[in-house]
Amino acid sequence: MSTAVQDRPASAGSPSGGAPARRAVVRWAWRLFRREWRQQLTVIGLLTLAVAAAVVAIAFAADGPSSPSAQFGSANDLLTISGSASQQAADVAVARARFGRIEVIEHATSPIPGSINTVDVRAQQPAGLYSSPMLRLDAGHYPAAGQVAVTSSVAAIYRLRIGSVWHEGGRALRVVGIVENPGDLQDQFALVAPGQLGRADHLAVLFNATDRQVRSASLPAGAELQTRQPYAVGFPPAAVLVFDTIALLFIGLIAVAGFTVLAQRRLRALGMLQAVGATDRHVRLVLIANGAVVGIIAAVTGAVAALVGWAAFVPRLETIVEHRIATFSLPWWEVAAAVVMTVVTAVAAAWWPARAAAHVPVVAALSGRPATPKQGRRPAALGGALLAIGLAGIALSHRGKTPPLIIGGLVFTAAGVLLLGPIAIGGLAVVGRRAPLAIRLALRDLARYRARSGAALAAISLVSGIVAAIAISAAAAAQNETPAGEAGWTNLPANQLMVYLSPGGSFALPGILPQLSASRLHRLEGVVAEFGHTLHSQDVIPLAAAESANPPVFQINQVSGLPTTTLAGEVTGTDGRKGLMPVAQLYVATPTLLRFYGIAPTAIGAGTDIITSRSGLSGTKILDFGVSKLKCKSTSCAAHSGSDSGGRAPNRRDLATPVIQKLGLAKYASAPNTLLTSHAMTALALHPVLAGWLIQTPKALTAAQITRADHWAAANGVTVETTSHSAQVGLQSVSDWGIAIGALAVLAVLAMTVGLIRSETAGDLRVLSATGASGGTRRLLTGATAAALALLGAVLGTAAAYVGIIAWNRGLHSLTAVPVAKLAMLIVGLPLLALAAAWLLAGREPPAIAQQPLE
């Protein structure tokens, strides 16, 4: 029998067989993938999810943030000019002379009946030199003289439609079109033809100027110059960088865990390959080729799924981010980079288990025995060092301003957790030494195969860490929200609505209460209660302000009424005179309001004058406006002291040093956050008067409900206030969705990993069955494995999240608000869920355990 190869090529003498050998190995890897792709569905699914998330993050980073075009159009500079008409004309002439080609948009303000909000009426060229990106016609046509086009929200507020007439400022304008600002869908405006506005409150002058022109420009008095930012404000590029780095880390860890499963399942076949003459390189190539195939499929599928999902989500996203989005105007090179990086990461992740498989002795591989795990302390030290380096990188990145440091920091932190994870597994096994048999065996198996479960534990820790970080950050953000007058805080929660008797609402201090009859007030109470009922509200809380016995009648902004007590701080005016500026509306701490906030009256100190959730109120004084001299400008007033009183108005009954106590009141600017106690009411001889109502609804108010509230308020002669955007809802929603998606991802990783560990110990299961163990014992064994991994991952992830956030913030303020419920869900709920899922699904041995790619 002779089967010698005729014409053996000279290149056949290559130690590793050259290209023909590689082709043969890759062909086999591809065939195996085609046969066994179902066994890799979990890995492919998780990788696809991660890629899709990364691509969506890229798309969102590119198109999600508000574009400066909403304000600047295609110009780089914006000069806002106010003042008299002649002054405006002179300033425009100066700007034209200085900056060359300019475009002027005229603005005027029109009040909305029943609302504290206003509508901007603007005169703008539809095809303006710079402003065309700020205008889009949705229906009808652009206005000519005597015509107007309005946004859909303005149309809803005034109940307008194309063809109807809008009476604005004493003139009648026929509505001829529906328009919008594509860059800001919240921009409520009415568009008239240039020259049709009448008197403009202010002018927006758009132009392109050089840096030198801008620097050397001497601006007209009262003018404000803004320059377009290079990228959208409010969305730091570091955010997408961090997200994509985390996504790639997740891809890497999942791939390592998944390919370790694969390498174990193919161990006998790989041993056979070596027995017939394959080198270590060939064995590695089998798994690396598989990694490349999985990576390519996941990358392409994930990217396509992300783009399809993105296209479907864009209409909804436009309403969330409040601007139009060009669906496929994406940074394609970044998308391509994410796809390529996914494949590279998958290949790199396959290398480690491939290397381990190549090192398994041939005889051990042929018998399907994994290599004996090596014990050592070096990984612990290395893991600790990597973790320390990673956290230092995060801390030194200055909140992501140094990209290499943040990327390196995250990678090193993940690597540190990867190496430290197995040690934690060992510790858990020691703790569980006295546990029942199934749990003890599960923990011991985890410890025996800790090198294999380490990558999965790291992936679980990573996802848990992200979930914990979201929850912690959201809680800290809520905790750190600052009161009115300070940056970063909204006026109301999305599910609350304030009804004011005062026309100025919360923005006019002091609040001026119109003098209403008792019967009118009584009727209003019924109307408000009925309106609350239509909003499904269970909480319609009357709000009382405090008045002196005989306050003078004030007139502010054409509204006359009785001033209510406010809190004021000392200020120095531009003329150098000292005075008092109201800083907070004071409401009365009625039993109803205290009960609404869950504050027991006994929690208020006996000598306390004011309870508040605000900080920085020391040095303020209570003003009751009994005989104060007020100088009012626009919507604010300053109480100027007489020169003979050394900073105090004569005869004014203020409380110079009120005792202030911080309590858990509302942390929103317009909600009642500063209350007068009964002690102060008595001391200042004040009496409560109805000032409005707080209505809390079960869910966030919709745009339609808000518009309806405006109409209702206008019809009933009151003013309503709602939150101006859904930022809080967004934060809460992101937090909740993050936790839900993270929990699903953890369960998927667990399904994959537990399958691996239990397949490696399938023999133990058979022995257990043979010695009489019940199905319940087998289920508990699997359940305990899943629960232990979930518990360790959640604890490690939460710890890493806290340490990472502290390093990121370089401070401990994230510890001030612990999201106990959400962290409990993560650390306790998730392991229990994993236990239950594994218990239910571990009834029989998966077919894949028994199948080997050998015949």
Partner: protein
């Protein structure tokens, strides 16, 4: 040049109290064209001897020489090349790669050695033809019977210019008819100049060998000329 030579080979597994001596000072020489059967009880070291002879694991001490090359002097890659070119393995459980057809399984050692797929396939088809499996070349292993799978494994072990055929219980998973057929093929291969070493429990199958080596507790306890094989029954005038 001998095809296989073991000189004072010992193999120890484990350390301390767990130490097991699988082979103790074993020496064996197999000439080209000779078929040697290794027999012995379970745990006597038969398979260990075979895997050491095939360079799948290292001896703890002693020398192993295959086709004139001392295995101890070879790197991992050089041993892999030796297995591709000079050593063929046949296992009890066939160990065919499930994703490859019969022809591709047989061609695998050649392709791993750098032979282009077309030439390797040609040689593989020829090997399968000689074993009566030419019409099964495009079948996957799970589409073949047990006997056919083992014949494919033998074709893979002898394809190319192999000098040493190592078979570990090659008929262990087969019925008696197929077992006889497999041994007949092994015998025929050896008659073509390949040295063969077969591990078996079955004295009947061992009778196909030129020489039978008995192992007990890791030591060669006896070496004998074989009993008259089944072929002797066909010789005219033979009597027991």
């Amino acid at each position: 040049m001998t095809a296989l030579e073991l000189r004072h080979v010992s193999k120890t597994y484990g350390e301390g109290a767990a130490e097991v001596h699988a082979l103790r000072d074993v020496s064996l020489t197999v000439e080209p064209g000779a078929l040697v059967a290794i027999m012995g009880p379970s745990g006597s070291g038969k398979s260990t001897m075979l895997t050491i002879a095939g360079s799948l694991e290292d001896a703890s001490s002693g020398d192993v020489i295959v086709a004139g090359q001392a295995l101890a002097a070879l790197s991992r890659n050089e041993r892999a090349r030796l297995r591709r070119r000079s050593i063929g393995f046949v296992f009890q459980n066939f160990n065919l790669l499930a994703g490859l057809t019969a022809a591709e399984n047989v061609a695998l050692p050649l392709e791993l050695d750098g032979i282009p797929a077309r030439l390797a396939r040609k040689a593989a088809i020829k090997a399968l033809d000689e074993l009566g499996l030419g019409d099964r070349a495009a079948r996957f292993p799970d589409e073949l019977s047990g006997g056919e799978r083992q014949r494919v494994a033998i074709a893979r072990a002898v394809v190319g210019e192999r000098r040493l055929l190592l078979a570990d219980e090659p008929s262990g998973a087969l019925d008696s008819v197929n077992a006889e057929g497999v041994m007949r093929l092994v015998r025929a291969t050896c008659q073509g100049g390949v040295a063969g070493v077969v591990v078996t429990h079955d004295a009947q199958l061992a009778s196909w060998a030129d020489r039978v080596v008995f192992l007990r507790d890791g030591r060669i306890s006896d070496q004998t000329a074989p009993l008259p094989g089944p072929e002797s029954l066909l010789t005219q005038g033979h009597s027991q």
